[in-house]
């Protein structure tokens, strides 16, 4: 019977993987010490620590040693395994750790089982709210917690609730905004799919807080599994008396329905979302009046994001004070990010507010997949901005990200390396906003379209010096004169790249060069004579017969014919095609 397990992984990116070598040496030593029947050694695919040489993790003690050498094997076995002593100079202390509040049950419980949710303490928050707290104390508890809306804007949740509670109306509504739409962001989907009851419970508590007898889930139709699981969760909650009449034997009644979003990004904006539920065209409306005063069908309405609601049950169970001790001064609790792009470990990361971007990207997600240096990190999706590598030590909270010209947003985080072009990136995001603009207001509708035109022009090498001025002018008009968040923030990706990477714009405009080699019009492919082995693979693969020549005289790319598709570059086995 084994008593301990040692996980082994070489995390050094710069050299060849030495895991197997070390594994054999360790096994040999254990065999020699006659410990091999008690200690199991396992090579693992990922050990959760990156770029720290050879790393071992001893279970069940959870001791991690890093930069381990063959010469360390003896002392590890003798003192740590045998005598339980920790070797200080090898110990790796995790700087950044995930802090899983919202994702507490994701990957742990069966999302389709209410019993498993209850087993993990589910609906005990609701019980506490109905039994002990009452409306007033509930809102005070939420106020004490300091939680702010996780949809992006960071409005204090308790204030929303309080406005709606104070509004005199017998009809009130609560809505869960599950119309997640930022490119690359899928935290909400994961929560809905992985722990639907936590969101349902959050919504029931919100409804109780304001005295609403009716609630809606507004879920985008592109999330069929989330819809199915929320549907099941609601049905189970009804069966268990956690929805419907006299919830948990109290006098509180609540009905919840699901509404599907038909694919418009702007319907994530709360006033547009309300129009959509009402069966109208999903376009934003001026605020005030705010939905908490006059919302769905003209009645006081609280709209909370999925992640916000998933936080509520834990806040209630553990108390607002407990929650307020997590995070920073102004931003409490945790935030889930969907980290994607050129990152090694793409996926969901939940950290306490105040962790730095570098900790998230480097320590938790393992840096870039290619091993190339990071150029920037984009947060906040199409409403956010890029943050250059030099500023990655900024602690994450609402205000800090805003100061850098980005936003917290709903939690999308895209990692970019030197192959990403800082003209191409804002072009992508702006293109998204232009596509998704509802068309109602002129600054957003036409402003975004015109800005996109300038970016396309620049990326095609047709830009002129004046274009940057036009971009700045349009950005200002869109920011100040657009009606809703979509238009007001659509220029952020452009402004932030202009702020930190103006030189790249100038390269495109003045030198007609794309440093990242991304903008196909500005790239030139040439054959490097002394590397070319004259195999002719490029000739066969060129779709427009732009490469001429033969085995004797060598090959040449006719620039006027080349369509910059990059096929020759990709197929050449000798790196004999240069891309400039």
């Amino acid at each position: 019977m084994y008593t301990k397990v040692i996980l082994v992984k070489d995390t050094d990116l710069k050299r060849e993987d030495k895991t197997r070598e070390f594994y054999t040496h360790l096994l040999d030593y254990l065999r020699g010490s006659n410990l091999h029947s008690q200690i199991q050694v396992v090579r693992v695919a990922d050990i959760g620590v990156y770029d720290k040489g050879l790393v071992i993790k001893i279970l069940p003690d959870k001791i991690i040693y890093c930069n381990v050498q063959d010469s360390d094997i003896k002392r590890i076995v003798d003192s740590t395994l045998d005598q339980g002593k920790i070797i200080e100079d090898l110990v790796f202390k995790l700087k950044a750790k995930q802090h899983r509040l919202v994702l507490r049950n994701c990957g742990k419980i069966n999302p389709e089982s209410i019993e498993e949710y209850i087993a993990c303490g589910g609906y005990l928050g609701l019980k506490k709210v109905l039994g002990e707290l009452g409306q007033q104390k509930l809102i005070e508890e939420i106020k004490l917690s300091g939680i702010r809306g996780r949809g992006g804007a960071g409005y204090p949740t308790w204030m929303k609730w309080n406005f709606a509670r104070e509004a005199a109306s017998t009809e009130k509504f609560v809505i869960c905004n599950a119309d997640e739409g930022d490119p690359g962001a899928y935290m909400d989907r994961s929560i809905l799919e992985g722990d639907p009851h936590s969101v349902v419970e959050g919504l029931i508590i919100a409804a109780f807080a304001i005295g609403a007898p009716k609630g809606y889930f507004y879920i985008r139709a592109e999330y069929p599994l989330a819809v199915e699981r929320i549907h099941k969760a609601i049905k189970q909650a009804y069966d268990f008396g956690l929805l419907g009449q006299n919830i948990l034997g109290s006098s509180f009644n609540l009905d919840i329905e699901i509404r599907l979003g038909a694919g418009a990004f702007v319907c994530g904006e709360e006033t547009a979302l309300i129009s959509s539920i009402e069966g109208k065209r999903g376009t934003p409306h001026p605020r005030p009046p705010y939905p908490s005063v006059k919302g769905l069908w003209g009645k006081p309405t609280v709209i909370n994001n999925v992640e916000t609601l998933a936080n509520i049950p834990v806040i209630i169970s553990n108390g607002g004070k407990w929650f307020s001790q997590i995070g920073t001064q102004a931003s409490k609790g945790t935030k889930v990010f969907a980290v994607t792009g050129k990152v090694k470990n793409s996926g969901l990361v939940e950290i306490a507010m105040g962790a730095t971007l570098r900790e998230i990207v480097m320590d938790i997600c393992g840096g870039t997949l290619s091993g190339k240096p990071i150029k920037a990190v984009q947060t906040g999706g199409p409403s956010g901005g890029v943050i250059p590598e030099a500023l990655l030590d900024t602690p994450v909270d609402y205000e800090n990200l805003q100061k850098l010209g980005s936003i917290m947003g709903s939690g999308g985080m895209i990692v970019m390396d030197e192959d990403d072009c800082m003209v191409d990136i804002p072009k992508f995001y702006l293109g998204f906003c232009v596509e998704e603009s509802c068309g109602k207001c002129a600054p957003c509708r036409i402003g975004g379209f015109q800005m996109l035109g300038y970016l396309k022009k620049i990326s095609e090498g047709k830009g002129v010096a004046d274009d940057l001025g036009q971009l700045r002018r349009l950005s200002l008009a869109m920011q100040k004169a657009s009606l809703c968040g979509l238009g007001q923030t659509a220029s952020n990706p452009v402004l932030s790249t202009l702020k930190y990477f103006e030189h790249e714009y100038n390269e495109h405009i003045l030198n007609k060069r794309c440093p990242a080699g991304k903008c196909s019009n500005l790239v030139t492919y040439e054959i490097v004579e002394d590397k070319c082995k004259r195999c002719g693979l490029c000739v066969i693969n060129c779709p427009v017969q732009a490469i001429s020549g033969g085995k004797e005289e060598g090959y040449l790319i006719a620039q006027e014919k080349c369509i910059k598709c990059g096929r020759c570059f990709d197929v050449c086995k000798f790196k004999a095609i240069s891309k400039k």
């Binding site: 418009a264 065209r281 376009t283 409306h285 001026p286 005030p288 232009v434 596509e435 998704e436 603009s437 509802c438 068309g439 109602k440 207001c441 002129a442 600054p443 509708r445 036409i446 402003g447 379209f449 015109q450 035109g453 036009q470 002018r473 349009l474 200002l476 008009a477 100040k480 004169a481 657009s482 009606l483």
Partner: protein
Amino acid sequence: MKKIIQAKINGILLRVEEGTTILEAAKRVQIKIPTLCKHPDLPPSASCGICIVKNKGSHKMLRSCCTPLEEGMDIITHDPEIVEIRRTVIELILSNHPNDCLKCARNNECELQKLTADFGIKEESFPQFLRDLPIDRSTKAVDLDPKKCILCGRCVHVCQELQDVWALSFLERGMKTRISPAGDIQLADSPCVRCGQCSAHCPTGAFVEQDHTAQAWKALQDPDKYCVVQIAPAVRVSIGEAFGYTGKNFTKKLYALLRRLGFNAVFDTSFAADVTIMEEASEFEDRLLHGRRPLPLITTCCPSWVDFMEKFYTDMIDHFSSCKSPHEILGVLSKTYYAEKNKIDPSKIFMVSIMPCTSKKYEITRNDEMFASGYQDIDTVLCTRELVRMIKQAGIDFDSLPDEECDSILGEYAGSGVIFGATGGVMEAALRTAHYFVTGKELKKVEFENVRGLKGVKETEIEIGAKKLKIAVAHGLGNVEYILNKVREAKNNGKEMPYHFIEVMACPGGCVGGGGQPYMVTDELRIKRAQALYQDDDQKQVRCSHQNPYIKRLYKEFLGKPLGEKSEKLLHVHYKARPVYVK
């Protein structure tokens, strides 16, 4: 009593009622914040983004059209940054708008053009982008050119909320967004009732009346044609606005003017309104005393209303007065009675109606009954805005025109005929005559103040002899539902009818607020126009249709009696249910 709040605009302290928008409040400190989408008739749509202002201490800008002034605010309505952003937004709108002002129906009357001039924009800052979208001319009344649309949303709001017609909506999104009937069909196949309120509210040339001045000019130069013209009550009190006068009645100048344009005879629709009253009051008397057809009786002078009813309230057909609209009556009388008396070949008569209305353009060929004289009773309809253009084309100096009288036998009207142009006017005129028909006695006081004014639905009770009559007046089709639902409910449950007599006019304010009237109408202007009509009525010797000597002569010489055989043939119509959407 609303709370009063205190705030500053441009450093000036002011106190306003809570809920007052910054745009409204700014007017009190002599600031008119520019906007392209806000219309005084409509709630803010907040779509143009031009009316932005700053609140000191906030980096955000506020849209003044929809943001209420709040206690303690310190608003700045203009500074270099605000002006620059407004200019950028206008330039953006221009980059998505055709550059053909010179050939546009709204040239010189376009709100976008005016703003462009105000901001001194002289060149294209951004590349032009226009979608190739066809012009919809299907209604024969109002044309929609989506290329000129700036998507302010006024027409959509007017069509959906004010008029409850729902012919217009936004289609697609982003730069592809456009105004169109749902399902991307032609307006003529949609619920559109051609009221033209879209064109009256449009800030640009996206919605304009179909221009028929060429037809009128052509007839006027044809030596074979005997051109006659009639002017509707509401035109006389609005036409002056094109020449700098508001709330003034120009009836007699218009008579002179139309003669100088070349018309052989000038008639007045107000005379035909008196005929309408004779018929309609008789119909009412018949229904009230003999009950051959049901009450309430509902007026039908307004073709948009008739169209609306035939599409949405077909169960009310029995309640509709069968009497034609006044201008159609004058059309048929000119080609029968007038032609006979003056020995003119009716086929040579060309009748032009000058109307405040776009719907009348469609009405003149809407069915066979519009050809009761044996010819098309009305040949062309021009709305007020078109007449203004004809005056300018002719170079007639409107200001110094002399007063002239109308041509005889189809012109002299009683006071009751001219108030048709204001909401409640038809009701008031009908009551004056109905009182006489029912009781045999003349009224001592002919004014019915309760049916006047701009309240959306006016309900009142009056006494005719021993009978107490309940009446209702609605203007703006959005106000119809309230009244007709009450009738419908009583009908379906066999209860007593809530009303005896109902007047409906499609346009807000009645014909004075018609879809073909001069632009930028407000309630203030509607009231002024209506007041000028009531003043005309007040100054008339004869105030009731049945007392009009020319009316008496018409019946004696030609029609016989109201609802008589000849009247029925020439002056009455039938209604039928029509589909809301034509497939």
